[in-house]
């Protein structure tokens, strides 16, 4: 270092520290901003909709008159859709995960399937709706039924279930499998009596979280043509249906006085349903997840 450079060298510690503190503050503010928006959203929704929620709101059908309207058919539709989607997606997702983790040979086809699953997770949900419209509603001629909706939703959440189940299965240590083989179990017995029970907590948690995602999805069901006005209880998989998010969307888009508060009330119910689903997932995670440390 020359004499000249040495005299020009100024550490400026104080200035650098000031900048540093300013930056740290900025990161905190940014983080708080996200949280503030969440709080504002919840306060807004519960403030507008909290008063709507009562027995009448839950047990009435939608109506042209805001004071009469309720979300009975939407709530039942959501429950029906949830059960049907779970019945379709759970075995498929777990089956695919078991195949990929326990059976699949390491070849191009397996790699292609994995790449494909990763890509499917990134497809916009409204595109799944177009798939459901073209394939299930028109081609399979299922119409705008609960079944068509559930099949569409099942395909939508399948990648989530597969990924979560694979992680759970991978977390089961090989010593468990080897112990099973040592006792004379076949591969099939090992998978079904040792690996799957051990991975059950993780698989179930992942499935419930995936179903929670399905509860909140609106766009694909609108695309396949689920209706916004249903004034009867769905009674089977071939019935027409509506769900909570669609009912909320319908109320939000009505300009007349009173309906936006109904939408807020619907959102309160929807958020409560999601809260319950996530709590169950948390509970399952803590109760059933086995640890192999």
């Amino acid at each position: 270092m020359t004499q000249d450079a040495a005299t020009r060298w100024r550490p400026r510690i104080r200035q650098r520290n000031t900048i540093g503190r300013g930056f740290a503050l900025l990161t905190i503010v940014s983080t708080l901003l996200g949280i503030a928006v969440l709080v504002a959203l919840l306060v807004d929704v519960f403030g507008d909709g909290g008063a709507q929620v009562d027995g009448h709101f839950l047990s009435s059908y939608p109506s042209r008159f805001p004071e009469d309207a309720g979300l009975r058919s939407a709530l039942l539709g959501t429950l029906w859709l949830l059960v049907l989607t779970a019945i379709i997606a759970f075995p498929l997702g777990v089956g695919a995960a078991v195949y990929l983790e326990e059976y699949a040979p390491n070849n191009w086809l397996t790699r292609f399937i994995q790449l494909n699953i990763a890509n499917l997770a990134g497809v916009p949900s409204v595109v799944y709706g177009l798939l459901g419209l073209g394939l299930f509603v028109r081609w399979f001629a299922l119409g705008r039924s609960l079944l068509a909706g559930a099949m569409t939703m099942a395909l939508l959440i399948l990648p989530l279930i597969i990924v979560a189940s694979r992680e759970a299965i991978r977390a089961v240590p090989d010593s468990q499998r080897e112990a099973s083989y040592a006792l004379g179990a076949t591969k099939w017995q090992t998978v079904f009596r040792t690996v799957l029970p051990a991975a059950g907590g993780g698989i179930l948690t992942g499935t419930i979280l995936a179903l929670a995602r399905a509860i909140g999805e609106t766009a694909p069901l609108i695309t396949i043509g689920a209706l916004t006005y249903i004034a009867f209880d769905p009674s089977g998989p071939m019935d027409l249906f509506t769900v909570l998010p669609i009912q909320i969307f319908n109320w939000v888009s009505l300009p007349q006085e009173g309906f936006s508060d109904l939408a807020a009330g619907g959102i309160v119910i929807l958020l409560i349903v999601l809260l319950v689903a996530n709590s169950i997932a948390l509970f399952v995670r803590f109760r059933l997840q086995r640890r192999f440390d």
Partner: protein
């Protein structure tokens, strides 16, 4: 048997491609693809039909731009806070809150945009239309914020301690370590997060359907109403469009374009992560 379960994923992709492609090709038999991709008037539901998709693409990109302008800086700063500054306990408290933000259904965000954010915007800018791009874009930004923050944070956290300590040893302050060493080292992951955010913003449907309106037009006026590709799909789906009409086929033509745009971005993001990831021993 189990293989068939896994094969369902391939069948799904094949199903998406064939349903989209079949109707799209039928669409292009009637409307030349050049007119579709370069036309600036989108009026398939009017008597004088016109099938230029550019207004929808314009609306989609403008909303996505607003969303990214909101989500990327805030998300990146949150990620830096969580990865570099926050004590473990604060981090453990904040991560679940961000997950809640990510888990809120998009229709709820749509309500929030239309009935909370838009009235505020109209106070500040009186000329704001009831349905406007700015409100939808801002709220969409907060919707994709958790994803942006979480992927960036993962990228920041895998930067090894030794790099940070080396920079500290040279006399750098924490700010300098973060901005000149850690963030550049994690740049590929951050870039991937940005591209995924754009892809999510382009495919997002309900917020724009509720809050951005249904006016297909080319322009950049953030305070006015525009229609996105996804909002158009919802608009047509709500009406009772008979099968085998040109209106029905526009759904799939627009859907195909949407699928291709998000697909290319997802692949690109994946490729960047693979190609530019610094591997630390």
């Amino acid at each position: 048997m189990l293989f068939l379960c896994a094969a369902v994923s391939i069948l799904t992709t094949a199903g998406i491609i064939f349903t989209l492609l079949g109707e799209t090709l039928a669409f292009f038999r009637e409307i030349p693809i050049v007119d579709f991709l370069t036309g600036t008037r989108w009026t398939p539901l009017f008597v004088s039909q016109s099938f230029g998709v550019l207004p929808l693409v314009n609306g989609t990109l403008v909303v996505a731009l607003v969303a990214v302008v909101v989500a990327v800086p805030i998300g990146l700063m949150s990620a830096i806070f969580l990865s570099e500054y926050a004590p473990a306990r604060v981090r453990a408290a904040i991560k679940p809150i961000l997950e809640v933000l990510a888990g809120i259904p998009t229709v709820v965000y749509g309500y929030f945009a239309l009935l909370f954010v838009t009235p505020i915007l109209r106070e500040i800018f009186p000329q704001t239309q009831v349905f406007n791009v700015l409100s939808a874009g801002i709220v969409m930004g907060f919707m994709i914020l958790p994803m942006m923050a979480s992927i960036s944070e993962d990228a920041l956290r895998v930067v090894p301690r030794a790099l940070r300590e080396g920079a500290f040893a040279l006399g750098a302050t924490k700010f300098q370590v973060t901005t000149r060493v850690v963030v550049p080292a994690a740049l590929s992951g951050i870039l991937a997060a940005i591209i995924l955010s754009v892809s999510r913003a382009i495919g997002e449907t309900m917020i724009v359907s509720i809050a951005a309106g249904l006016q297909p037009k080319v322009g950049f006026d953030l305070l006015s109403s525009m229609e996105t590709m996804t909002a158009y799909i919802v608009q047509v789906s709500l009406g009772d469009t008979p099968q085998d009409t040109i209106e029905y086929r526009t759904l799939f033509a627009v859907g195909t374009l949407l699928f291709l745009m998000t697909f290319v971005m997802n692949i690109l993001s994946d490729w960047i992560v693979r190609r530019y990831r610094e591997v630390y021993e």
